[in-house]
Symmetry: C2
């Protein structure tokens, strides 16, 4: 097992906290071109695999039948902040399927984004299921069920035909066995499956390149990833990492984060996909790791590389705007 990636957080001249993580980059054939840490350990991808979970929406014909827009496809792969535009877009998806928010089984929560929760507090008595960060994905699920003829009731369950279909899609992509033994329940109540970090990256490399999957699945995969790259705001939101990352080099970076320190990205020009998992599940470290990892595949003299490295290694300021330290990815990543 190789050394993990580490991310250091400094204060003054000293390291205050230290994160560890795994990272892997693979091509469409599954060849590992970079790795750090134990890339064969089981990792729950959480929301980072939403584009995989949205494939039945395209493959079933539901997206075309309901005339879903690019923004709506991006939202079906999103963990959004619950901003007004996200909520409207999810409602629109449900409306096209002749349903409303009462069919959603994801639960409701206030936004975790500070500016958004302040706005929500001032305009809402309380949030509903459309404000859930997963409401786009769930609205896509409803569209798929309605179009396919599945009863949406209980669509979050392990044995519901939609989840059986999603499991099969993810098995095809990752090459991993996904079942009750490595299944957990996600924040929005659908199943999530632990598989090697390498397998998740390989699945996204197959989606990106079309290698090892049917042409139909390859087309559906690229359509979803292209939608995310075309509408980054709908994949996350204002000031969110996925959105900022895809805006750095439009059309050149697909990226999606997941809870507990997971981040997955795919680079069309390089034909590579990559995944990181911060061992203890911290978002700030997963972000720094994926920013630095993506930067490796852009020209070191170019603006994109520079921007990505400034996002990876950044200064931290306090309430008075005084610089107090920095977040920095260690050298391992650049060896």
């Amino acid at each position: 097992m190789q050394n993990p990636v580490t991310v250091e957080v400094t204060r003054g001249n000293l390291v205050e906290s230290r994160h560890r993580g795994m990272a892997v980059v693979v091509d469409g054939q599954g060849k590992v071109v970079f790795s750090a840490g134990d890339i064969e350990a089981g990792v729950f991808p959480r929301s980072a695999c939403k584009a995989m979970q949205a494939l039945p929406l395209i493959e079933s014909g539901a997206a075309d039948a309901f005339g879903l827009t690019t923004s709506e496809l991006a939202l079906s792969c999103s963990s959004h902040s619950g901003e007004d535009e996200h909520v409207r877009t999810a409602a629109s998806m449900l409306s096209k399927a002749g349903r409303d928010l009462t069919v959603l089984e994801c639960g409701a929560h206030w936004s975790s984004d500070q500016a958004t929760i302040i706005h929500q507090a001032r305009t809402l008595e309380k949030p509903n299921a459309l404000h859930n960060n997963c409401s786009g994905k769930h609205s896509g699920f409803i569209c798929t069920c309605v179009h396919t003829g599945f009863d949406p009731a209980g669509y979050v369950g392990y044995d519901h035909p939609l989840q059986v279909e999603i499991r099969a899609v993810m098995q095809d992509l990752t090459g991993a066995v996904l079942g009750a033994d490595n299944c957990g329940t996600d924040g929005c109540s659908i199943p999530t499956y632990a598989a090697p970090l390498r397998a998740w990256a390989h699945g996204f490399a197959k989606m990106l390149t079309g290698e090892g999957i049917t042409p139909e699945r390859a087309r559906a995969s690229r359509r979803l990833m292209d939608a995310c790259m075309a509408e980054p705001f709908h994949v996350a939101g204002t000031n969110r990492a996925c959105t900022k990352l895809m805006n750095v080099a439009p059309g050149k970076i697909f990226a999606k984060t997941g809870a507990e320190g997971v981040f997955i990205a795919a680079l069309p020009d390089a034909g590579l996909a990559m995944a990181v998992k911060c061992e203890e599940g911290t978002t700030r470290a997963a972000e720094a790791m994926i920013f630095a990892l993506i930067a490796r595949y852009f020209d070191k003299q170019g603006e994109t590389h520079d921007t990505l490295m400034k996002m990876a290694n950044r200064t931290m300021k306090n309430w008075n705007g005084i610089t107090v330290g920095e977040v920095r990815v260690t050298e391992t990543m650049f060896a």
Copy 2:
């Protein structure tokens, strides 16, 4: 170096994330009665040492001269949530010193507590310095400066006589050299110093027992710790760990958290103080570690032990209230 403490976060039957940390328990003479991980590594205590920083408020005579209440003394040692009562209490302290919030140099921020930020969003245009989690500590600083005759302007600076005095107090308590070499700037702009975790715990053990310090400092220390134990709400706030912990066994647990995964506690009956630092700075792990560590010093058959262990090892629920996993401290702690 001993093995670190680990805290596992599970999902389904699998470990999803794993935290590492150091932990130490010492008595008033500095004897280490428990340790895990590298307890000699430098750790910034951040807000966990606020009761030390408040000692000049008592020792200068300012607290008595201005007639500060028990709640106000507790607030001077607090990282509060910015709830209305906290804000009123900080304003009262400043008023007693003939000042107002314009003298505060801590900066302003919205509450990090969800219920509080929702309330703030509905009642405030924006927060001011009184809402800063450190406003109680800073109001105590102002009281000290005004009573002592120090010009409060620039009281957050390394060379301001108040910070020089605080540095001397913390050196006396910890036995560590605190200076420019191990100094960083805290979130509220005052200096924070890295010293071994063992030294921070020893400092609090000296405060608790009076060993190795002057009788005057011993009395001032117990007065502050007693104030915190008497008014736990003013040390943190609704649903906050410090407040809940001190309410578990009133008068028997002093506890204060700090940013980046630090937690310090002192147990009057046992005459022991303890400190933990989560390596990567995560609050959920630091809380689990200190809960389990404190539990070691209560009767295993008793209600307090049971309550603390239920706080340490807890289930996690998702947006629908479904149990998805647990946070659990590993066996090391209980060996």
